[in-house]
């Protein structure tokens, strides 16, 4: 018993380690003073400053454009890839290739794309980031949808074919509706990953635009200010909401699949 209790030390230490920095970050965002280190009093002024900061606003717009574009690519291609891999081939190599963008270090993908864009002489900008994010997000969507396909009942598809429905009708009316929770979860994942992605964007965006993580990165290099804390608090809220919504969604999907 006493020895079992000892295990709780690293357990709680892990949670304290994960959440203490976040808590400090959020508390300091309400600082009425100018310091990111000493709390003088409560105020929302940094949130006001944040809203007035054009660089951050531009960065946010760029990030949303990139995330929307890459999620669209990743969701469509990733879903098709997952269906193709699960239903139309047994190739282990293709499986591995499809997963590679998720496994390769981001730095390797980033320089690969930089060299490639250089060779085809593409002017870097938001669209080069959209294409790059679409690549790794597609791997994640494909993985999520595949898990869902593995649990799906193939006898329904067979019954549909036996009853005379063509492959297109079977796909649109039987396979696809079963996959919807997986596709939505995959799209959410792709969107969140793109929102936060720094390394690949940093390499492939060129000099004329910045995404939000790149704006934050360059702001931090000039020093710490509660304005970044306010931004952090808002982003935390958004990420946490998205994750919990995604969690709910998967659970609804699962309980429906069990019915």
């Amino acid at each position: 018993m006493g020895r079992g209790r000892l295990l709780y030390v690293p357990f709680w230490a892990a949670y304290a380690f994960l959440y203490l920095p976040i808590a400090v970050l959020v508390v300091m965002s309400f600082n009425s003073g100018d310091s990111a280190y000493t709390l003088d009093g409560f105020s929302l002024k940094w949130y006001g400053e944040l809203a007035a900061d054009e660089r951050i606003r531009d960065g946010l717009v760029n990030t949303l454009i990139v995330a929307t574009g890459s999620t669209a690519i990743a969701t469509v291609l990733g879903t098709m890839l997952a269906v193709g891999l699960a239903r139309h081939t047994r190739s282990k190599t293709l499986d591995a290739v499809a997963l590679m963008p998720a496994v390769l270090p981001d730095l390797v993908l980033a320089i690969g794309l930089l060299v490639f864009y250089g060779v085809i002489q593409l002017t870097l900008g938001l669209y080069s980031v959209v294409l790059a994010h679409g690549l790794f997000a597609m791997a994640f969507v494909a993985a999520v949808v595949r898990t869902r396909l593995a649990g799906a009942d193939t006898s329904l598809e067979e019954a549909s074919r036996d009853l005379g429905a063509g492959p297109v009708a079977t796909f649109m009316r039987i396979t696809l509706p079963q996959l919807v929770p997986g596709i939505v979860a995959g799209a959410l994942l792709a969107f969140t990953l793109s929102l936060d992605e720094f390394v690949i964007a940093y390499f492939t965006i060129g000099n004329s635009e910045q995404t939000l993580p790149i704006v934050i990165y360059s702001m931090i290099r000039f020093g710490v200010t509660p304005k970044i804390n306010a931004l952090a608090a808002i982003l935390l809220l958004v990420s946490f909401t998205a994750v919990i919504a995604g969690q709910r969604l998967t659970r609804i999907g699962e309980s429906r699949a069990q019915d």
Binding site: L25, A36, I111, M138, D196
Partner: protein, 279 residues
């Protein structure tokens, strides 16, 4: 007959868009990186398309070998610490009642979904001279210490960023264990520690290997954390690659370094697959 043709048509329709995308934006770029590593840098940056193996010779320069060694050392230390904290955490989560299990797991993953740069920023705030850690130490009559801009700060940052990647595979491995095995071991007179050493730990080795790989890979190739939390002397292989591409403009040598990075990771993957098959 018509079904098998339909199957081939289906394979083409569903697979070709995604595979084309992978071919053009991943496989071709990787081949280009490989090719670039055999060329020379131009005098004003850029690539001169003349064959050379000189870039690979530069890899064994003590300066660069030292950086590779430092990167391995920092990534290994991070992985070991993650294992030390992650194993007991995963073990306890696996034994929680079902309802709390989900909550505990989501709570482990949640910080992972927040902005990467902001998570590192939090540690600058905490570890900096006037930061919270030094304020806490001051209450105990200690410090202030220079906690930021050294290898220790890099390890803390990496650990903070990748700990969830250790806990999840460990949890999956521990959760799968049959509790009867532990009971049997205890009934046969083994102490809790012996049961852990002889039953639980050997059966969860695959989880340990996967988690270690998940933490080691992003730690080893990182350049953002060493740049933001490390000192001017702490350079990891990721920083070196970044600098060759964006500062020194020596793409050929940067590509060679990236190949070295991939080589280390491939060796690890093969070793892990081998160990998993044996265990």
């Amino acid at each position: 007959m018509s079904r098998s043709r339909g199957r081939r048509l289906g394979a083409f329709v569903f697979l070709s868009p995604g595979l084309t995308y992978l071919l053009v934006l991943m496989l071709v770029p990787l081949v280009l990186v490989l090719g670039t590593s055999f060329f020379q840098r131009g005098r004003f940056g850029g690539v001169v398309y003349e064959f050379t193996t000189e870039n690979f010779g530069r890899l064994v320069d003590p300066l660069y070998l030292g950086v590779l060694g430092d990167s391995v050392r920092i990534a290994v230390l991070t992985t070991l610490l993650a294992l030390l904290i992650g194993y007991p955490t995963a073990y306890l989560i696996a034994r929680l009642p079902r309802k709390w299990k989900t909550v505990a797991l989501v709570a482990i993953v949640l910080p992972f979904w927040t902005n990467f740069i902001i998570r590192i920023y939090a540690w600058i705030m905490l570890l900096n001279g006037p930061g919270l850690v030094n304020s806490g130490l001051k209450l105990l009559g200690l410090g202030p210490y220079e906690l930021l801009y050294n290898d220790g700060a890099i390890v803390v940052g990496l650990l903070y960023s990748y700990l969830p990647l250790m806990v999840l595979p460990l949890y999956a491995a521990i959760e799968r264990l049959d509790p009867q095995l532990r009971e049997a071991s205890a009934n046969l007179g083994a102490s809790a520690f012996t049961t852990f050493r002889k039953v639980t730990l050997p059966l969860t080795v695959p989880g340990v290997l996967t988690g270690s790989l998940f933490v080691f890979v992003p730690s080893f190739g990182n350049f953002v954390i060493p740049e933001m939390l490390g000192g001017s002397k702490s350079i990891m292989v990721g920083n070196l690659i970044r600098n060759q591409f964006l500062k020194a403009r020596d793409w050929p040598f940067g590509s060679t370094l990236a190949l070295a990075l991939i080589a280390v990771l491939v060796v690890l993957l093969v070793a892990q697959a081998w160990a998993a098959r044996r265990g």
